[in-house]
């Protein structure tokens, strides 16, 4: 096989067929498997499916809070400058060279369209609308997406999805289904039935229509689910989560965080859920009315937990937090993010502080996210603890410097020397 020196995708377009000779095989651009490989790399490098980025650390709530976190005014100001993750990135696909590849030749068209059709995503109402206009005519391509993502289509209405359901698109390979802040959309049941073997990740946030019935169907059908993010879906309650937990035991991430209707998520569903999902590495329960019992069960069962969000959980208390996070306990060995904002009922932070220091002494990053009031409470206790430690150190050292241990030199040793000297002087 010979690579031309101007190897490149556009070069391939100008490729002219030459008579095959004995020592010259077909160009690599004629071998479907290789073209497919090349275009897969183009895809990996260029395709950006819109999704929310996990913030490295949450933004401070106000200037005083920022100052507490960062300790100097300049850094505090910087941290408050709003960075809108979404607007800074441009999700338009027109710059994706994969689309240019469609135009190269038939082989490229076939390979590129296959790859493009693996990911179905829209983040603009306008282009989604245009797409919907064309689908009736697009009978040629058998769309079998691995991912189906609609991002912030606030005004999209259910008929859009029903329309897609009517096409030949099928979901037997679907791994990732996301409707991020598309409040009026509910995935048609066919999506779930067809992807029952493959679906691993479901993200439906801020939905007004997602309900327990959907969760029950989801649980019964998609037992390979690993990632379930249904933040701010306020119709979801204990019943749905409990039912889901009967069937789904491979979960790694669950996020049920919410601002309203916190009282519909309680120990009744969270305890069975964490008991049956020992692989959970992320749990988000912001605003949920779970009690200490859930925390104790998590500590017992979730050895792999890395991120735990308990912001604004009014029914948890010192009793669980100061027991589970404690220098003597060895729960949550992998935890590196713990969020406890707005839990003003928590007053005993010693355990959390000790836990944080222990994780850090293992060279792990350990972030405890709290709000301003709780942070100053925590700082005060931290200082008191340090003072105790210094006092212990001081008293220990003081004992030593004033002790006369056995290995100590004998005072007499020098007196003897002096005596010897006097004797020789005489």
């Amino acid at each position: 096989m010979i690579l031309s020196p101007d190897f490149g995708l556009l070069g391939a377009a100008k490729y002219t067929r030459q008579p095959l000779t004995a020592n010259r095989g077909p160009s690599i651009f004629e071998i479907p498997e290789i073209v497919h490989k090349i275009l897969s790399y183009v895809d990996i490098q260029n395709t950006v499916i819109p999704q929310e980025e996990t913030p490295i650390r949450r933004q401070p709530l106000n200037y005083k809070h920022a100052l507490l976190i960062h300790g100097d005014s300049k850094k505090a100001e910087q941290s408050l400058e709003t960075t809108d993750l979404d607007s800074s990135k441009n999700f338009t696909t027109s710059k994706n060279p994969l689309f240019n590849c469609l135009l190269v030749n038939k082989l490229f068209y076939k390979a590129a369209s296959e790859i493009i059709s693996q990911n179905f995503y829209f983040s603009k109402q306008e282009s989604f609308g245009k797409y919907l206009h064309t689908i009736d005519r697009a009978h040629t391509v058998q769309f079998q997406p691995k991912s189906f993502v609609l991002h912030k289509l606030f005004h999209a209405k259910q008929p859009c999805l029903d329309r897609i359901q009517m096409t030949r698109m099928n979901f037997q390979k679907l791994k990732w289904l996301e409707l991020y802040m598309c409040p009026k959309l509910l995935p048609p049941i066919r999506f779930i039935f067809e992807s029952s073997q493959t679906l691993e990740k479901l993200v439906i946030t801020g939905s007004k229509v997602l309900d327990n019935d959907f969760l029950v169907t989801l649980g019964r059908n998609c037992r390979n689910l690993q990632h379930l993010d249904i933040r701010a879906c306020e119709q979801i309650s204990d019943f749905g989560i409990y039912q889901l937990s009967m069937y789904c035991h491979k979960l790694r991430l669950i996020n049920l965080g919410r601002k309203n209707k916190g009282n519909s998520i309680t120990d009744a569903s969270i305890i069975p859920l964490v008991k049956r999902n020992p692989r959970l590495s992320t749990i988000g329960l912001a605003g949920c009315h779970i009690s200490d019992a859930s925390i104790f069960e998590m500590a017992r069962h979730c050895r792999r937990l890395e991120r735990l969000s308990l912001n604004n959980c009014p029914n948890i208390s010192d009793s669980s937090i100061s027991t589970v996070f404690n220098s003597h306990a060895s729960y949550f060995p992998l935890l590196s993010v713990l969020e406890l904002r707005f839990n003003y009922q928590l007053t005993d932070w010693k355990g959390v502080i000790e836990f944080k220091r222990r994780q850090e002494s293992k060279n792990m990053i350990m972030l405890v996210e709290v709000c301003e009031q709780l942070m100053s409470r925590m700082r005060q206790q931290e200082m008191a603890m340090d003072q105790m430690v210094s006092q212990r150190i001081f008293s220990d050292i003081s004992v030593w410097v004033n002790s006369h241990s056995e290995d100590e030199e004998q005072e007499s040793s020098y007196l003897e020397l002096v005596r010897r000297k006097r004797a020789s002087d005489v």
Partner: protein, 202 residues
């Protein structure tokens, strides 16, 4: 400042202090370090080429103190390694041989240079080979002791005469370092008379 760390795992507190040993060649810096860390003394002289360092750990109840002792070869050619020894040191021992006046006179220059790299370290003036010093004439002893006291107060440094071979005042040096570093009261009498192994630290 000494490094203090609360090691939660076993409720043990760690304190680490770096200490630098500086002074002319053959005065007994390496001997003092080896004696303090390993408890042994060797009559033979082996020149230090560059920098040596050893750790001595002391466990007191819940606290582990680690002295990291850094020893700089006294030959002029190693002066460029002085920052290695003096940077971040909590205490610097400026050492001289009690039987060689010239080594005491060199202290001025050592002090000036080391201060250039570390202005916060607690300085100590340490005379070595006290066991041989007492064989000198009273006049010589008087002269050297007065000179050392004068230097000590100019440097605002404790003054200690020690003998590594006869275990005189070796342990005390390190106890005084700790009491200075942590501002702790030390129940120890000073020794100030000519001919005696001087201990001035108040």
């Amino acid at each position: 400042m000494p490094d203090i760390e609360d090691d939660n795992q076993d409720q043990n507190n760690q304190v680490a202090l770096k200490i630098g040993l500086i002074g002319d060649s053959q005065i007994g810096k390496t001997s003092l370090m080896v004696k303090y860390v390993e408890g042994s003394f060797d009559e033979d002289y082996i020149q230090t080429l560059g920098v040596n360092f050893m750790d001595k750990k002391i466990q007191i109840r819940n606290t582990t103190i680690t002295f990291s002792i850094w020893d700089l070869g006294g030959q002029k050619e190693f002066i460029n390694m002085l920052p290695l020894v003096s940077n971040d040191a909590v205490a610097i021992l400026f050492m001289f041989d009690l039987t060689r006046k010239s080594t005491l006179n060199s202290i001025k220059e050592w002090y000036r240079q080391a201060r250039g790299f570390n202005k916060t370290a607690i300085p100590f003036l340490v005379g070595t080979k006290y066991d041989q010093f007492i064989d000198l004439s009273f006049q010589d002893q008087l002269e050297i002791t007065q000179q050392a006291k004068k230097f000590g107060s100019a440097m605002k440094a404790p003054v200690v005469f020690c003998s590594t071979s006869h275990s005189i005042n070796v342990q005390k040096i390190f106890k005084i370092i700790l009491s200075k570093a942590f501002d702790l009261k030390l129940n120890l009498d000073e020794i100030t008379n000519v001919g005696e192994p001087i201990l001035i630290f108040k």
